[in-house]
């Protein structure tokens, strides 16, 4: 712990993870296409994109599993391929699936992995931390999907890594398990680790990450904090919920000129505002108008969620760059499937 902290401080200015114009090709397919980004210590960076966007290829290049066709990858200043043996002691890896002896229980596997490292975490304490204390001896193959993912996360953490690579860490994890994973990821970030994770789920990126890199077809589409990404394409709406059947015209008048109110679903409203409107006074007027009528105010949200930004970005790209082959429809279908499917190759 202590020497790891010292090492973290020693070269904390350099990025922990660097991708510079990375291209990864499999035969004729270009999985990653001139992708560049950096991730720093004390930061959670999410690679967000639909399945097949090149997220896993990128992460596996950083982990040293596959060579890049061109461009540079660096982790802690090291070349993941050439300096593999020096790097593996300093990174923690969670594969998208599997990676654990199917007949061994969590305690056995975690003690085994702990023995690979010079200064490991206490395996038993770590098991309790990830909420697997009650299934210490259950063979891996009999654990639930969520328990398997949490064991994988524990295996990634046991060597006290400086950089953590998590490929779809919450895929197949139940809501309770997701909270455990999120808390653990946040705790590692607070300890000064650099966490690079991939996800195709927007909610997860929004909840887990400090910064999001949106990729599609191997290219970077947008980069920023969830808030920045959302405001960058803000359409100036305010959403809220209250009783159904409001007098929309009266509310719009109360808000001010140019405002309009739409009831999108019963009890769920969207206030459209003219560009450049400051939202705090609008929210104040809205709250006052509802208070006069003794109505409740719920689910208030200004701007867009990352989901809307994500769909706006990926959608805009699909329209502005129709493929030479008639694949626009297929591209959309793939994007839709990406919301639910788990595989990502």
């Amino acid at each position: 712990m202590d020497h790891a902290d010292a090492r973290l401080r020693a070269d904390s200015s350099a990025p922990a993870v660097e991708c510079d114009a990375v291209v990864i090709r499999y035969g004729d397919t270009t999985a990653v296409d001139r992708l560049s980004f950096e991730a720093h210590r004390g930061e959670v960076l999410a690679l967000l994109g639909p399945n097949g966007a090149g997220k896993t290829s990128t992460v596996e290049a950083l982990e040293g599993y596959r060579p890049v066709s061109s461009g540079t990858v660096r982790v802690l200043g090291l070349d993941p391929g050439r300096d593999h043996s020096a790097l593996v002691a300093r990174i923690g890896v969670m594969l998208q699936r599997g990676g654990v002896y199917p007949t061994l229980g969590p305690a056995q596997v975690l003690h085994l992995f702990a023995a690979y490292y010079g200064d490991p975490e206490d395996p038993d304490a770590l098991l309790d931390q990830v909420g697997l204390g009650h299934v210490r001896r259950t063979p891996w193959r009999r654990l639930s999907g969520g328990e398997q993912q949490r064991l994988s996360l524990a295996l990634a953490l046991v060597g006290r890594p400086e950089v953590l690579f998590l490929d779809e860490p919450t895929a197949g994890v139940d809501p309770e398990g997701r909270i455990v994973v999120r808390d653990l990821v946040a705790a590692q970030r607070d300890k000064g680790l650099c966490v690079l994770l991939t996800t195709h789920e927007l909610d997860e990126a929004e909840r887990l990450a400090d910064r999001v890199v949106i990729v599609d077809k191997g290219r970077l589409l947008a980069e920023g904090s969830p808030t920045e990404l959302a405001s960058g394409t803000s359409d100036g709406s305010v959403r809220f919920s209250t009783d159904p059947g409001l007098d929309a015209a009266d509310l719009a008048t109360a808000i001010g000129p140019g405002a309009s109110v739409v009831e999108e679903r019963p009890g769920a409203y969207r206030l459209r505002l003219p560009p450049g409107t400051e939202t705090p006074p609008v929210v104040a007027s809205l709250a006052g108008w509802l208070a006069e009528r003794s109505l409740s105010l719920g689910n208030l949200r200004t701007g867009q969620s990352l989901e809307e930004a994500y769909l706006a970005i990926t959608g805009a790209r699909a329209e502005s760059e129709p493929d030479a082959t008639p694949t626009t429809g297929r591209g959309r279908a793939r994007r839709t499937r990406g919301r639910t499917a788990r595989g990502d190759r």
Binding site: Y65, V88, Y101, P102, T103, L104, H111, A115, G159
Partner: protein, 246 residues
């Protein structure tokens, strides 16, 4: 050293807690030895079948551990992504391989101890030169070469086939080599062309070496040394060239 010992312990734990592996490496050889020593149905050509069976089944035991058990285990580890995941730890391939070799040797020592003990119980009495240091030494050397050869064959299959296909292929190969390898049935009982073909395979070469040294008390034939050595060099080299870790 700590990673290697921990890995060796894990490999042994998995071998000894896996019912199928135990059946394959201890159950089958011991049952064959007991049954065919007591029930004289095999054309062993010796006055006491057990005198033929102990060396033959020792060869079978080497094959079951170094080829079949190693291959099935490694194939599933590859299929489950375990080998890939280990690639991102400081364990490293040399130590992983060393742990697997250590586990195979440990199981073989146990097998040999049990089979020799059962053999003596069933009246095995290798007379004269068969018990000499020279013969036992040659038998051990042949078993080491056989282990390397069979291990290489097992890893060629485990490193290229899907786990379930590998399971089927390696079990089928086990049965074929058991029948053609002169382990239970002397090569002299096979058609000449088949016996000639078998002599080029590591199973027959190892069985012949053990029948000679531990049965008749004769040294290993040069031809058997050559066959074993060629397999012991070529199979691991091919495994190294073709093995896919994912």
């Amino acid at each position: 050293m700590r990673p290697l010992l921990a890995q060796l312990r894990a490999e042994l734990t998995m071998l000894f807690t896996n019912g199928e592996t135990l059946f394959l490496t201890l159950g089958i050889p011991v049952v064959f030895l007991l049954f065919f020593s007591a029930v004289h149905v095999l054309p062993t050509g010796t006055a006491h079948p057990v005198d033929f069976l102990v060396p033959g089944i020792l060869a079978l035991a080497v094959m079951s551990t170094s080829m079949t058990a190693l291959s099935i285990g490694t194939g599933f580890e590859r299929g489950y992504g375990v080998l890939k995941r280990l690639g991102a730890t400081p364990l490293g391939r040399p130590r992983l391989l060393a742990a697997k070799i250590g586990a195979v040797i440990a199981v073989e020592v146990l097998q040999a101890g049990v089979l020799v003990a059962v053999g003596y119980l069933m009246g095995w009495n290798p007379g004269g030169p068969a018990g000499s240091g020279a013969c036992v030494g040659q038998a051990l050397a042949a078993m080491v070469l056989g282990t390397v050869a069979f291990g290489g064959i097992g890893l060629v299959l485990a490193g290229t086939l899907k786990p379930l296909v590998n399971l089927a292929v390696v079990n089928a190969l086990f049965v074929v080599l058991l029948l053609l390898g002169g382990m239970l049935i002397p090569l002299s009982k096979l058609p000449v062309w088949l016996a000639d073909l078998s002599r080029l395979l590591p199973a027959a070469a190892l069985a012949q070496a053990l029948h000679g040294t531990l049965g008749r008390g004769t040294p290993v034939a040069a031809r058997d040394w050559v066959v074993l050595a060629v397999w012991a060099v070529c199979a691991p080299v091919v495994a190294g060239l073709t093995f896919r870790w994912e």
